[in-house]
Subunit: 232 residues, 2 copies
Amino acid sequence: MTEGNPAGVGLRERKKRATRAALVAAAVRLAAEHGAEHVTVDAISEAAGVSARTFFNYFDARDDVFVMIGADASARVRQAVLAAPAELSPLEALRDAVAIELAEIEQQQELWRLHAEVLRHSPHLLARSLGAHMADELALAETLAERMGAGSPLFAGDRAGLGSPDDERRRRALGLHPRLLAAVGIAAVRVAVEHWCVRQDELAFADVFRETFDHLAAGLPAPAGPAGPADR
Amino acid sequence: MTEGNPAGVGLRERKKRATRAALVAAAVRLAAEHGAEHVTVDAISEAAGVSARTFFNYFDARDDVFVMIGADASARVRQAVLAAPAELSPLEALRDAVAIELAEIEQQQELWRLHAEVLRHSPHLLARSLGAHMADELALAETLAERMGAGSPLFAGDRAGLGSPDDERRRRALGLHPRLLAAVGIAAVRVAVEHWCVRQDELAFADVFRETFDHLAAGLPAPAGPAGPADR
DNA sequence: ACGCAAAGATGCAGAGTCTGCAAAAAGTGC
DNA sequence: GCACTTTTTGCAGACTCTGCATCTTTGCGT
């Protein structure tokens, strides 16, 4: 662990990132052209200029290369949630943090457009992608809990993944409310993105995004009388 | 024994269901014992008494056998949502429909308990399972839209899956609100189940479930109140 | 009962995915 | 330049999944 890299990270690290990016770019480009199912690891690796064996040093499965796109964005969102002004509600803080991240993504439009195209044509990958996003939910719930005054930093360790050893311990330490907030917030973001994707030409994304969170804040339904949930 | 099949479907259909159930049961049992990653298709097939080739007549991928458990439950939920009394809000109708389904699942406890165990130990499968559930979201959104007075039956065709040809058309026909309701409702159910799974011994599921939807109905913005998760 | 057509099960060949291992190559620090 | 660490690569081998041909079972009319 040699840090202290002043201006840039070491050459090793830079090369690694470059290789990973090259693999992702090659994969998405090939998939957009020939369909994700028909793109072999060999083809991706060759297009990226590495051996097929090396591909699996970067991704646990072939499909991951189509799913691991915004892997580090969620970490930035959590950071922004913590840093948000205290007068914002948790949901508002999340909304603004995501908005910033989405705005940045719009810069790299091209790759993301292709990526969306690939997912649209491969339901299998779409499902996988959605599942992957869920993994972030626990981390976000912890961040929200921390922000909501409970104050307990809980665990500093980050992104341990769904199945990590202390995953269960972490879940136990979380209240129901932060988890619900995280789940609902992520769901709202997803719905906004999907809704806009389907009619990009008609609507501005910012509007859809705002409208979605307005619905949420307004309390979604009209609360009516109680109806005992089926107890037995 | 060639009578007309009175109440039951034909023998062919019954055998098919039996085989499918046998495969699922064998897979879950083996996975609970040896870990999902170490269970081969050959082993599952042999335990179920069919050839390995036949396995793929039932599931598109090996992992699907661990994911396709409640495949038909979602259809029943949608049906119940439509049949619910008109005075219930959409979220309430969904809540009650799901409660009924979950109560029935508690009957088959054993298989589901093993299944939960398997998912807990295999993050990969958990992500996949979550992704699969998302596929139901669109169908549920349509059902909710239909219930919410818009009245247009939209498309009768059911469970066409994420990538079906008219998938896009169907998405375009849906408003933002029903989709948000569906997404949020499913997220709430998921959080309730997960939260309860982690502390089965301490809490009654019915309570967790009710509390979760109470939070939702109350409008999520946190009262920021009780700092300490007064659990334990 | 008989026989035919449809549906399902099976075996096999072959392409593709993914892992462990050990040697070669490349980056890092002295 | 030299030792040390990390990464890449080739290779063997197990496993996943598909297309195709064949054989068995089931549904049904006669």
